[in-house]
Every structure is written in C-alpha cells, then in structure tokens.
Amino acid sequence: MTIRTWNPFRELDVLRQEVERAFDTYGRPWRQGSALRAVPLHYPLLNVSEDKDNVYVEALAPGIDPETLDVTVVRDTLRIAGEKQALSDEIKPEAYHRNERSAGKFVRTLTLPVEVDGESVTAEYRNGVLHITLAKVEAAKPKQIEVAVS
C-alpha cells in the first residue's frame, strides 16, 4: 500500500496546468517552462516594425558566429538560419551548476507584411541582435495623394 499525502502545492500545479491548457499558447510566443522562467517557443525571437519605405526585423540571437548566419528573402518571406555554438566540449556535464542557455542550429521563416525588394536588404549583427532592413517594393509603398481644394 502506498501512502499518499495530500500536497496542496501539487494541487496548485495541476490547476496551473489546466489553466495553461485552456488558454494554450496560441498567439503567445512564450510558454511557461517552469514556474520561474519562460521558455521561448521560437528561436530567435523577432520584432518587426515598418515605416514608409522599409520593413525592419530584429532577431534576438546572442552568441552566434556571424559566419554561420544566413538570411534569405523570397518575395515576402524572410528566412533566418544560423548556428549557436555550444560552450567548449571540455566542460564536463557534472561541472555545471546551471545550464539554461541552449545551442544548436536554427531556422526561422517569417512572412513579412508586404512584399520587399530582395536586392536591397541589409543585415547587421550587433551585440547579439540581428538587425535586418528590407526595402519595400515600389508597389507596396504608400502613396501620398494630394487633395485638391476647389
């Protein structure tokens, strides 16, 4: 016979899981990995903004050898690929107190809000953030219409 003691914290955890399932992760890039820390569902995390002429994409990707970064654009689809190096293999697993950072290859594709000109895309990797500037195609740029006053 096993003795099961009632653990209020376990009950709370079950409730938390139920609530999470109910809301699912739709539209939210963050999933609660533990009660303490959120784990991103996608890597790298992206922010997209735009102005009249350009679309700007920022990717949060620290510790990546810029040589491995590969950014391609086809019409309105942006693809970011790369590899985050692991720390030295010489570190034994038992030497770790914490190992929260992940490593490995990643690919992420994103549909941009408008079609962009693949010829005029610039990408810059600065302080662990990839900044991509994509020029909109002429047809996608907003046109200022003069209002004639009669």
């Binding site: 903004s49 620290p62 050898d65």
Partner: protein, 129 residues
C-alpha cells in the same frame, strides 16, 4: 551556488520601482572551471559599457541596460526590450580582486576565481613503515 531570491534592498529602495519590474532575468550557464567558477549570460542588445557586474557580500549581481529604440512603427512583437537583472549567491569564497568579465556578441562571461585557501589541496599520504 543558489539564486538569490531576496535581493538586497538598501540601494534599490531609492531607485524607481517601475524600473525593477521591467527587468528580464537573462538565461545563464554556470560551471566549475579549474580555478573557480564561470558564469555565462546571454545579454543580447547590450553594449559592453552598459553591463555592470558586482560581487558584494558573496552575491553576484549582473545588471545591464539595453539600448532601446526601434525604427518605424511596430508591426509584430515577440519581446519587449528591457534591461537585464539577475543575482546569485555564491557559496564559495571568490577572490574579488581577480574577477574579470568579458562581453562578446551579446554574451557576458564572468570568471570568478576562488581564493587560494578554498581551492582543493592535495594531501600527501605518508606510507607508514
């Protein structure tokens, strides 16, 4: 080594409490090296000069400011640029004089060498004749 949950409040009590709320705890790797500990933290978007690493009363504090501002209007957002803040309590005696840190590609590495006396010492065993 344990994460310090109750931060020292004396100095932060004066600061704007809203600033504290908006900080993000960076993900870290902490591991033992031959002469002490190494802490590796992901701090994307942080300039080298904007990082502050302190050891006070055997509590390691990493805080960093991100250079904000993005061009244009937001279309889609998965992260909010926020400052970083995380503290750890160090169980070993760290030689404060020898701590050094480096920043590369948005990754901070802090080396925390142990003080001489807390390093393992090999004891020679004498053969009893």
């Amino acid at each position: 080594m344990s994460e310090r949950t109750v931060a020292k409040r004396e100095e932060s009590a004066v600061a704007d409490t809203r600033d504290e709320e908006r900080t993000v705890a960076p993900v870290v790797d902490i591991f033992e090296v031959a002469d002490g500990l190494a802490v590796v933290a992901d701090l994307p978007g942080v300039e080298k000069d904007a990082v502050d690493v302190q050891v006070d009363d055997s509590v390691l504090t990493i805080s960093a400011k991100t250079a904000g501002g993005r061009p244009g209007e937001e279309v889609y957002s998965e992260y909010a640029p926020a400052d970083y803040f995380r503290q750890f309590r160090l169980s070993e005696h760290v030689d404060q004089e020898k701590i050094h840190a480096e920043m590369k590609l948005g990754v901070l590495t802090v080396h925390l060498p142990k003080v001489e006396k807390s390093k393992p010492k090999r004891i020679a065993i004498q053969m009893a004749s």
